[in-house]
Amino acid sequence: MADFTFELVSPERLLVSETASEVVLPATEGEMTVMANHAPTMTTIRPGVVTVKSAGKVSRYVVFGGFADILPSGCTLLAESAVPVDEFDRTLIERRIEEARSHLDNGDHADEHKTRLEQFLSELTHLNGVLNPA
């Protein structure tokens, strides 16, 4: 199977830059698997888990929003914040949920904005459920 370069970049640093055979992205409109020679695509990312398969190794990262730039030769994921799943701290996501909720509750938002916030909140809650099974 052909490989391609995958880069995971957060504003603070370049997290991953390696060749991968398969990457699963949590795109806004559903999960998306990227392999080599993918059609050029630009997509936004919702909070979720990115799975990178390279040379038989599988690594997983938690990302909070961002977007991905996919080209036949490679894939660049610009994440707002990204952490490897093993180093992930559950308080982090709980704090974010808290923040999103208080943001939603205080202040009157336009309808469109409100739906977006609600969606974001439900995505976060879902992610929390996946990562921290009660």
Binding site: E7, V9, S10, P11, E12, R13, L14, A27, T28, E29, A39, P40, T41, M42, T43, T44, G66, F67, D69, L71, P72, S73, T76, L78, E80, S81
Partner: protein
């Protein structure tokens, strides 16, 4: 003429000061290295961001779906200036340089009859600008408690700016910070945030030629991208500022240490002279006393 004891005290105090400035210099050097690393690590993100932005802006063109953050309000009556400075002093002309640059800008805008609003990031800039433009400062952001500037800090500032923009509080937003050229030179810089100055599609490599699929559509992505880009720009400015501050502090403290050294030399010289003079005087007294007998 100060007495011997005075001189001794002064030498001791200058020596103590020299020790402090020397220590501060070394701390600044260590922090500078860390700040430079942080700025370096953040570079890939902002670079890729601008490439992507250029691509997508090209794709969208001048469609109606272009968000207001990019096109602006169509006016330039009210200007919002975000002035980023350091939280601490003792770093040479670093803070006053940025503040002076911003002040000139404000004066020019005012003489053109524009309305100016200011957001201060960092305590020092606030202290300086407060003297002249207290009425114009709408907000200030304190990062003193922050040990290491993270993207979250920049994002918060970005969100505040966008919230103000959505309330039609201003038309044009400009960011002031100090660009880190080298350890000894930091250049105050103004960067327009809103309407977003799209990096001209710098004949990007392969990606420019590719025809993209957008998911969801390009306008939607742009809507998501522009606020993010603003935060990224602010983040970059903050990192550059930290590096610049540390560089300025390092050279300021180096100067201070050298000055203290010179001062100690001078004081020691006059101390020794005076001691010698006293010894000579005493000798003369003894000798003339012996001769008189």
């Amino acid at each position: 003429m100060p007495s011997l004891k005075d001189l001794k005290n002064r030498i001791a105090s200058v020596k103590a000061t020299q020790k402090i400035t020397k220590a501060m210099k070394m701390v600044a050097a260590a922090k500078l290295r860390r700040a430079q690393e942080a700025a370096e690590a953040a570079r890939p993100y902002s670079q890729r961001m601008s490439v992507v932005l250029a691509n997508i802006a090209q794709a969208v063109g001048t469609d109606d779906s272009v968000p207001r953050l990019m096109t602006g309000t169509g006016q330039s009556q009210t200007h919002l200036l975000v002035v980023c400075t350091a939280e601490r002093g003792l770093c040479g002309g670093f803070n006053s340089q940025i503040a002076r640059f911003a002040r000139d800008h404000i004066r020019r805008l005012q003489s053109e009859g524009k309305t100016v609003k200011i957001i201060c990031v960092g305590k020092k800039g606030y202290d300086i600008l407060r003297r002249d433009f207290n009425a114009l400062i709408v907000d200030r952001i304190d990062l003193r408690e922050v040990k290491k500037i993270g993207f979250a800090n920049a994002d918060e500032i970005g969100k505040r700016i966008i919230a103000l923009f959505n309330k039609d509080e201003f038309d044009v937003c400009t960011l002031f910070y100090s660009e880190f050229k080298s350890v000894i030179s930091q250049v105050p810089t103004a960067l327009q945030l809103i309407p977003a100055a799209v990096p001209a599609a710098e004949a990007a490599p392969e990606s420019a030629a590719a025809i993209y699929d957008y998911e969801p559509d390009a306008g939607e992505i742009l809507n998501d991208l522009i606020p993010r880009n603003i935060s990224v720009q602010i983040f970059r400015a903050l990192l550059e500022n930290v590096a610049g501050e540390m560089g300025a502090k390092m050279s300021a403290m180096d100067n201070a240490t050298r000055n203290a050294g010179e001062m100690i030399n001078k004081l020691t010289l006059s101390y020794n002279r005076q001691r010698q003079a006293q010894i000579t005087k005493e000798l003369i007294e003894i000798i003339s006393g012996a001769e008189a007998l």
